[in-house]
């Protein structure tokens, strides 16, 4: 997984949760970070802005960890790039 993507996702989570950036790692679970369902939709909203994405509800509902979030964003970014016209 691209380190820049992980850095960006963890930074967004830290900022949204008002917690120190170093406390969010790729291996953190939402439970460890005390991210509940309402925090989750707030993070999704921020990530949509950051990556210029639409994150579908059904995919988002299953995410319980930073790693799952990064994997999901990576897939959506790849799909978005694939849909762009080739130059």
């Amino acid at each position: 997984m691209p380190p820049e993507l992980v850095a960006c996702v963890t930074a967004v989570i830290a900022k949204t949760q008002h917690i120190p950036p170093e406390s969010v790692t790729i291996d953190s679970t939402f439970e460890e970070l005390k991210i509940d369902s309402l925090d989750g939709i707030n993070i999704l909203f921020a990530l949509e802005s950051e990556f210029d994405l639409d994150i579908p509800d059904d995919a988002a509902r299953k995410i319980r960890s930073v790693r799952e979030m990064c994997e999901g964003i990576e897939k959506l970014v790849a799909a978005k790039n694939a849909a762009l016209p080739q130059t």
Binding site: D36, S37, L38, I41, L44, F45, D54, D57, D58, A60, R61
Partner: protein, 400 residues
Amino acid sequence: MTRRVAVTGIGVICASGRTRDAFWNALKAGESAIRPMTLVPEGSVRFPNAAEAAGYRAEDYFEPKEADLLDRFAQFALIAAREAVADSGIVFDAALKATGAIVTGSCIGGKTTEDDGFRGLYALNNTRFPPLSIPKAMANAGASRISLEYGITGPVYTISTACSSANHAIGQAFWMVRSGSAEVAIAGGSEAPFSLGLLKAWEAMRVVSPDTCRPFSKDRRGLILGEGAAMLVLEPMDRAIARGARIWGEIAGFGMSSDAHHITQPSPVGAARAMRAALADSGVAAEAVGYINAHGTGTSANDPAEVEAIRSIFGSCVPLLSSTKSMHGHALGAAGAIEAAATLLALHDGILPPTANFTEPDPACDVDVVANVARPAQIEYALSNSFAFGGLNAVLLFRK
């Protein structure tokens, strides 16, 4: 003074029908009124479907000048109140005007009016706001307009507790009539949430279904927003009998609680406390309850929590329950009133409205939800649940 409280008038306007009879016939037929949304531009929100009062035109009910003064939610309130009062046969003489009460519920008030005004300011660069916006948007606009209609000068107010608004309103009115502090009451709720700004906010909450509303079904994907109003006329049972009124049923108890748990996640403990409080308020034993009109939003969080709450009271003898939101949508501050109408009509006619769109049992909601087809059942007592964001719960107990 404690008096029995009869419901002698019911008025309804919502997606399932623009009169009480049309509404009830649709519910008995198990017809879901969820359709592609028309009140905002297609594709402007992620969820394409809603339970709109299809075919509603303000000019069918109001003179143009009057319609201009009323946001859609207040129009619905007045239409439902007119039907309920006409149905009750009550004539508001001087004494009843002075001792009458009106309590309405609304979660969002005239949000559509506000949204239009804000769009004018921010998108169209208008420098002025339409001058009727303040009285149109106030959450008590419906209650105040009903008060003007009948000259009712007693306690008139509006309760805003999100999705529990109407149950709180009906419960307060019930207590006033029961205690003698009001001689008659018009109570219910109204809502008209289809403005783009509010729908985008619901979209961001990620609780609205992308297809339809399937409460308690394993493949449920969320709630479907609805709109409309329902109003009840409440009066002392003695008065109703003395004047030979048709009695739809009785309100037997009201209970409320706050979860004090989480701003959006439901708590089975808090929900159960409100149901127990409604039973205690009436002195009726849990075993007497034969039907529950569930809050049943169809979200992943609500339905199993509600079943857990119900099980904590009824154990293995859970009453039949259904969520009529599967047909008329979730009308927020009007939901409890529309569902009160459904519950009263169910008891009166001996037929339970189904949970429509049900496809697959969920082990986490392992109860009989009267799936898809209405069921005949002679039942004396029924609960109607409303549980709101903010953890505020309000439950009504009805008697045939």
